[in-house]
Every structure is written in C-alpha cells, then in structure tokens.
C-alpha cells in the first residue's frame, strides 16, 4: 500500500505547477477585471466597456467575422470531409495530410503569404482579405474533425437506410448528416474560438484598418491598462464558456482528436 501511495504522489509536482501557472493566472484575470483604478472591487471596467462604443462595436464586429468565417468553413469543409471519407483509406490519409501540412508554416508567414497573394492578383486588402485569411487559416480545423466522425461512421446504418428504400438524398439528410453533428460541433469550437481571439492576423490582412477584439485586448495590455484588458479578456472567456455550453462533454474526445 505504501508503494501505491508513492506512485500517486507523482502527480504532486504537476499539481503544484498547474496551481501556480494555470489556476492562479486565471484567477488574476478575474481579480484584475473587477479591480478599479484605486484598487479594490469595482465594476468600472465593465461600465467603461458598455459606455465606450468603440470597444463594444469591435466586439460585435469580431463575433460577426467569426460567425461568417465559421459558416464558410462549414460550407467549404463539410463536402471536402465527406468526399475524403469516401476515398479509399490510404489515399484519404495522404489527402488529409496535405490539408494539415500548411499548418506547419508559421501562421504569420502564411498570413503574409495571403497578403502577397492578394497583391499578386491586385485585389484590395480589407474585409474580403480578412475573411479569406481566416478561412484559409482555420479550414483544416473544420475538415479534420468532420472527416474523423464520418470515417468512423457505421456503414451498416447507411446500408440499412438504403435497404429500407431511402433515396440517396434522404440517406444523407436523415442518417449521415445527423450522425456527423459531433464533428461539426467540434469543428465550430476549433474555428469560432480561435477566430474571435486572433490578433496580428487581422492587422496584417487589413493594413491595420480593421481591428478585431483580440487586437483591442492586446493594445490595452500593451498600453499598461491591465485592469481594462483583463476585463475584456474576462468577457471573451464568458463568450467561450457560452460557446462550449453548446457542446457537451461527449464531444471533448472529438475535439481532442482533432487537435492531436
């Protein structure tokens, strides 16, 4: 029994590490968010957010951009994942890899390459470029989880539906699509959340003309307005909390698989 307790104790160093490097920092965000200028509890940071149209507008605009990006990623990514799941296994593996490889090029280099592409085709930088860049950066995160779910789907269900006289359209709408929703949900998590929190990418793609919420947070922190920056981070955390409420824990595995 003594030995048993020793193995268990191996979790202790990491528990302490997590406490200092994860739990305390997260608490600090909350503490700073509710701290007034003179120290002490206060809601002034949140009042400022509501009363200052600029930050609130950026916030709403960012959610809009993130929604559009997510929808485009679903529309483009779902068919791709579906086609991939129908390919033979070894070819599908290669194509999935092809989708993932661009991820190894530094995000900022990729973004600058997108800027170059727009220059090359003499398209203007701005909202269009921003959305293209976001979709370009996050599309693989949509394709992969959907592909994973579709590929593991029990084919006898599809055959059963066909045997029972469903048309191909019905098979897709009534069987395949509903069964693939966990993949879509984790895809949404993996596209929507990073999109809403990006900074830098937006600056580069719009020549600093369009600001997203992430940029606003970064600017405030950089300018020494930690309390306000922390409050904005706290608001982002709440949005993320709400988003993840829509996804129950059963999708966590899918999300993790997608990440790894």
């Amino acid at each position: 029994m003594k030995l048993f307790s020793r193995r268990r104790n191996l979790a202790l160093p990491y528990a302490i590490f997590l406490g200092i490097m994860v739990v305390v920092p997260m608490l600090l965000i909350i503490i700073y968010a509710f701290m007034g200028k003179g120290g002490g509890f206060s809601l002034e940071n949140f009042e400022r957010f509501i009363n200052q149209p600029e930050a609130a507008n950026t916030f709403i605009y960012s959610i809009g951009i993130a929604l559009i990006t997510t929808i485009i990623c679903i529309v483009l990514g779902y068919p791709a994942a579906y086609i991939l799941s129908r390919l033979n296994a070894s070819l599908a593996k290669v194509v999935v890899l092809l989708f993932i490889i661009p991820m190894w090029v530094n995000v900022l280099v990729r973004t600058l390459a997108t800027v170059a592409l727009f220059d090359f085709m003499s398209l203007p930088l701005g909202e269009g470029a921003l959305i293209f860049g976001m979709v370009y950066n996050f599309l693989p995160f949509m394709v992969y989880p959907i592909y994973n779910v579709l590929q593991k789907m029990d084919h006898s269900l599809i055959e059963a539906a066909e045997d029972l006289g469903a048309t191909p359209r019905q098979v897709f709408l009534r069987v395949v699509f509903p069964l693939s929703t966990p993949g879509i949900v984790s895809g949404i998590m993996m596209v929507f959340m990073p999109t809403i929190s990006t900074f830098a990418i937006a600056e580069l793609l719009t020549m600093n003309n369009i600001k997203l919420f992430g940029t606003t947070i970064q600017e405030n922190i950089n300018n020494g307005m930690w309390e306000y920056g922390a409050a904005l981070s706290f608001i982002m955390l709440i949005i993320i909390g709400i988003t993840s409420l829509f996804t129950d824990s059963s999708d966590e595995n899918a999300a993790n698989e997608g990440l790894l």
């Binding site: 020793r6 990491y14 700073y32 190894w104």
Partner: protein, 275 residues
Amino acid sequence: MMKKFFSASYLVLLLVMLYAPILIIAIYSFTESKVLGNWTGFSTELYSSLFTGGVNNSLIDAIKNTFIIAFVAATVSTLLGTIAAIGINDLKYRKKRVMNFVNNIPILNPDIITGISLFLLFVSLGITQGYTTVILAHIAFCTPYVVLSVMPRLMQMNPNIYEAALDLGATPYQAMRRVIIPEIRPGMISGFILAFTLSIDDFAVTIFTNGTDGLQTLSTYIYADARKGGLTPELRALSTIILVVVLVLLVVVNYRSYRQAKLAEEQQQQLKLKK
C-alpha cells in the same frame, strides 16, 4: 463517373487554395527582390545569406532562441508531463477529475488568454520577463498535451505488470524504468514532438511574456518585421526550408508506419498458414 470527377476536382481546388500562398513564398524564395511578388531573376542568394550570416544578426538570434526555447520547453514538458500522467492515472475519483479538468484549461483557452494570464502572473510577482518567463510559459501550455498523449498508453497498460515487477523484487524506480517507461515511450515521443512544434509555432503567448529586453523568437520577429512594412526576404527561404523538412519527415514517418503495418499483416498471414 461525373460525380467522381466533380468531387476530385473540388478537393484539388481547395488544396490549390490552401497551397497558393505557400507556393508563392517558395517560388519567390529563389529571387532576391526585397518585396514579395516582384521577380528579379533566379538566384539562391537568400538561401546562402541565411547560412553564411549575411542576414542581420537579429534574425539569426531569433531562430536560435526559437529552437533553444522549443527544445528546453519540450524536454521539460515531456518529463513533467510523463511523471504527472503516471501519477494522475493512479489517482482516484475526484482528485483525478480535478487534475484532468485543470489540465484541459490551457488546451481549451485561446492563446491570447493564456498569454495575458501569464503576463499578469509575472507582473504581479514582480518577475522580470525574458528567457525564463517565456520558457516557463511554454512549459505551461505544452505539458497538458504531453499528459494527454501519454495517458492513453497508461490506460491501455495492464496494471498487474507493474505489481508483478514489484513482487519479483524490483524497486519502484526499477519497475518504473524497466516496465512502465518502455510501455509508454511512443506516447512520450509523440508528446515531445507535439510540444516542440507547438512551442516553435507559438506567437500569442510569447509576445506577452518576452518582456521589454528585446528577446525575439521567429514569430515575434516576423510580427515586428511585418509591422515595419515587410518581410525580411530571407524568411521566404527559411519558410521554404521548414516546409520541405516537414514534408520529408511526414513522408518518412508515414512510409515507416505503412511498412510496419504491412509487415504485421504478413506475419499474421504466415501465422494463419501455419495453423
């Protein structure tokens, strides 16, 4: 037939879209022009200046920093994460749940939140930010991934093996080194690789923890560069090299696993024949 053609061309079209920007970088890495998109004749100058130190020192420093930080962070994360996974796997009920929950926080948090939270920690403790804080921050967001990649291996393991080793007179340390570690090694290796790539790619956490002393990694260097109005031309060569290395590694790894799978299949068939 038509359907197949359409679906194949759809995939090709998407891949072309994904690769177009990268291809442009690769192509323009073979010309000297300062601006991307301006072809001034074929040249390998960018590659040679990258290796002969013709580039300004700060880029070379940034590359060095990136790799040192990634190597240290990945090594520490792998050790810490493996030991932690062994411990967590042995925890019961609530403690295990709490550890797994906290372990998931850095994974689910957006980078910017992780970065800001650590920035506030270092500022509150009055720690000067620099090399140490960046490495600590990288360890913080890499270790959870190591834990996640080691854990499945531990759960697959037969728990009796460890106890059998103890019964046969092994010390706990020996049992760990001779029994557990060999079983979970693949998880440790993939955890290390994952941590290494996450660290190299990181931008958001680094920029909040690198302080004001001018410590730059590749990502923050590129960011500063881009804000000044352009990409150092040598970065095109560097990105191309990274891409080629990754491609080669992936081909090698996949070819090996393909061959191993084939070997296993053949062995099984031989076994069947013998029976």
